[in-house]
C-alpha cells in the first residue's frame, strides 16, 4: 500500500530571545492510507509542532525548517509555495484543534463557518458550488456529526453551544471538504469523559464511512488504546518508538515508553502499590545536551547515550525504536516490557 504521509528526519526550530529552540530534532513517521496513528508524549515533546508543520501553519520566519521532508502522496510539502499549500489545506489535509472554545470565530454563526470552507474549496466532484449547495452540505455535515436540530443550530453562535457541540462543529468544518487526512490535536482534552467518549465514537464512525486517515495527538493512553492502530511515542523532539498499538502497549521497547505506561493510573491498580513515576523533568529544547534526550531520566543510561542521538533501530518498516539498548554490542536488553505482555 502506498504511504499517504511520510516524515523523514524532520527538523524544526524556533528562534526565541533565549536562543534557538529545537522543537523537532529528526522526526520519522509514516502513515498508510486509511490508518489511524496516535502521537503520544508529554507537553513540549513536539507533538503539536509536528502536526502544525505538516499543515505548514507557521508563517514564514516564525519557524525554521532546518531539514528533512514531509512527503504527502509522494510530494514534499516543504517545497510547495504558499499558494499550492492552500490547495492542500482543507481539501487534502484538515485539522481539528484542541480548544473548541477559542478556535471557532465567536462573531460568526456556526453554519456560516462550516459553509466558508465548502464555498472556498468547492466540493470534490465539481468546482462550482452555490450558496444553496453549501448550505445543504453544512446541514448534512451537522447531522453527520450528531447535532440534533441542525436547522436551528446553523444560525447560532459558538457561545450558544456546549463544549462538546463546539468540538462537533470543529469536526464538521474539518470534514467539510472530505479530506484524505484528518489531524486532530488533543481533540478531547478540553472535554468531560462522557463527551470524550461521544467524540471518539464519532471520529471512528467518520473514518469507517469515508476513507479518511487520522492522526490523533494526545497524552491520554486510554484515548490511544481506544482509537489508534499505530502509535508514535515522542520525547524531546524525536519519535523514540513507533509500532502498532499492540506493540506499544504489550511489547514496548523504549525505556520512556516503559515509564509512561507504568505511570498511567489504571482502575485495577491496587491501592497499596505506589505509582512508579519517571523521575526528573522533560529536557530543555534550547541548547539540548548532545545524545539521547531521555538519557537524564533513564534508568539504563550507558556512556554511549550521552555521546550521540541514537539512530532508529528498525524491525520491519512500521516498527522502530531510537535507543542504544538495541544497538550492536549492547550487553543486556532489560526485559521490562515482559511485565506488560501478560495484560
Amino acid at each position: 500500500m502506498p504511504k499517504l504521509l511520510e516524515l523523514e528526519d524532520l527538523r524544526v526550530s524556533f528562534h526565541t530571545y533565549a536562543g534557538e529552540a529545537q522543537a523537532l530534532r529528526g522526526v520519522n513517521l509514516t502513515l498508510d492510507a486509511g490508518d489511524t496513528l496516535a502521537i503520544v508524549g508529554e507537553s513540549g515533546c513536539g507533538k503539536t509542532v509536528t502536526a502544525q508543520s505538516v499543515m505548514r501553519l507557521y508563517p514564514k520566519g516564525a519557524a525554521d525548517y532546518k531539514g528533512g521532508s514531509i512527503r504527502y502522496k509522494g510530494e514534499d510539502l516543504l517545497t510547495l509555495s504558499e499558494r499550492q499549500m492552500r490547495r492542500i489545506r482543507g481539501r487534502e489535509i484538515s485539522m481539528v484543534f484542541q480548544d473548541p472554545m477559542t478556535s471557532l470565530n465567536p462573531t460568526v454563526p456556526v453554519g456560516k463557518q462550516i459553509m466558508e470552507g465548502v464555498l472556498k474549496n468547492g466540493s470534490r466532484e465539481s468546482k462550482r458550488v452555490t450558496r444553496r449547495d453549501a448550505r445543504l452540505r453544512a446541514l448534512e455535515l451537522l447531522e453527520g456529526v450528531g447535532i440534533a436540530d441542525p436547522e436551528t443550530r446553523m444560525g447560532q453562535y459558538p457561545h450558544n453551544l456546549s463544549g462538546g457541540m463546539r468540538q462537533r462543529v470543529m469536526i464538521a468544518i474539518a470534514m467539510s471538504c472530505s479530506p484524505d487526512l484528518l489531524i486532530a490535536d488533543e481533540p478531547t482534552t478540553a472535554l468531560d469523559v462522557t463527551v470524550q467518549a461521544q467524540i471518539l465514537e464519532l471520529m471512528k464512525s467518520l473514518q469507517s464511512r469515508g476513507n479518511t486517515s487520522i492522526i490523533v495527538i494526545t497524552h491520554n493512553m486510554g484515548v490511544v488504546a481506544n482509537i489508534a492502530r499505530k502509535v508514535a511515542v515522542m520525547y524531546g523532539g524525536v519519535v523514540v518508538e513507533r509500532g502498532t498499538v499492540e506493540d506499544i502497549f504489550f511489547r514496548p521497547r523504549h525505556p520512556y515508553a516503559w515509564g509512561l505506561l507504568r505511570s498511567v493510573f489504571r482502575l485495577n491498580k491496587p491501592k497499596d502499590e505506589p505509582l512508579t513515576p519517571i523521575d526528573g523533568t522533560p529536557p530543555e529544547l534550547i541548547d539540548p545536551l548532545p545524545g539521547c534526550p531521555f538519557a537524564e531520566r533513564c534508568a539504563y543510561t550507558m556512556r554511549v547515550c550521552a555521546s550521540g542521538m541514537p539512530p532508529e533501530f528498525a524491525w520491519g518498516e512500521a516498527r522502530a525504536c531510537r535507543c542504544w539498548l538495541y544497538g550492536p554490542g549492547c550487553p543486556v536488553i532489560p526485559a521490562e516490557w515482559e511485565e506488560y505482555s501478560h495484560a
Binding site: S162, G164, D192, G222, L260, L267, P277
Partner: protein, 331 residues
Amino acid sequence: MPDAMAQPLLDVRGLKKYFTVGRRGTLKAVNGVSFSIRSGETFGLVGESGCGKTTAGRVIVRLYEPTEGAVYYRGKDISRLARREAAEYTHNVQMIFQDPYASLDPRMTVEAIIAEGMRPRGMYSRGESRDKARELLSRVGLSPEHAQRFPHEFSGGQRQRVGVARALAVNPELIVCDEPVSALDVSIQAQIINLLRKLQRELGLTYLFIAHDLSLVKYVSDRVGVMYMGSLVEVASAEDLYRSPLHPYTRALLSAIPVPNPIEERGRRRVLLEGDVPPPLNTPDQCLFLGRCPHATDRCQQGMPQLAQAREGHWVACAMNEELNVDAYTI
C-alpha cells in the same frame, strides 16, 4: 449523611451554594450536599466540569459563604466561629490549587510564599520561619537551596510541590486538594500523587480530594462521592463504587473512561450518554439526570431523589434504584 461512628473531622450537612447570574436567574452550583470525612481518610469528590465539586471545596475552606446548610469541623459550625476560632480553622484546613502557574505569586520568592502563612500566627520568628520553609522544601522533594528562587524558575511539577509546602506550613489537619495534578504531565502526576500519599502517612493528614479523573480518584481515595449538577448522586467506598456502581450516571461515567489497554478497550460494552450536562440554571424539581438517563421513568419527575443507603456504606440518590438490576452490571 449521619454517621454512627466517632465524630467525623468534617461534616457537611445540606450544603447549598447559589450564585445569582445576571437576570437569567440562579445558578445552583451546590444544591444540598451532605457527606462527612473521618480523620485520616481521603474522601474523593468526582464529577464532570460544572458539577459543583470545586465550589463545595471552596465553601469548606471558607472562600465562599454557604447559601444554606452548614459545614461542621470537629462539631463546630464553621460559619459561626469566633474570630480566634476562625483563625485557628484556617490553619487547620488548607487548600492545594489546580493551577500551579496561577496560584503562586510571581513576585515572591518561594521561601516568602511558604512562610507567608506562618507569620500572622506569631508561631515563628523571622529566622525560624525561614528554617521551617527550608525544611518544608526538602520534605516535598525540592532542595533547600531553591528557597530564594522565584516561581517562574520552576517546572509545573516543582511549582505544585511549592503549593504543597505552602499548605503544610501551618500544620494543617485537613487539606482540600482541588485537581492537584490535572495541569501536569502524566509522568509528573505520579510524582505528586506519591508525595501526597507519603505526607499523609507521615503527618496523619486528612484529604478532600477533588478531581475529574476517576481512575486517579479511585487510586487515592478511601471513600468517593460522585457529583452531578450540584448534587451528590452516589457515595461509597472506592472499591465498592468501582466494583458495583449503582447510579446510572456513575455507571456511564465509569464506562466512558478509556482503559489504557487496546484489547480490553475493543471488547468493552459502553453506556454512551446522549448530549451534554445542561447548565444548572433554574433547574426543575426532578431528578437532574433525567434527560440523559437510559432508565428514566415517570417516577423520576417527582422531585430530586435523596441519598438513601442501598447497602452497608453505599448510598445512592436514584428513584429507580430498587428496580435496576445491580448484579447484571460490571465494568
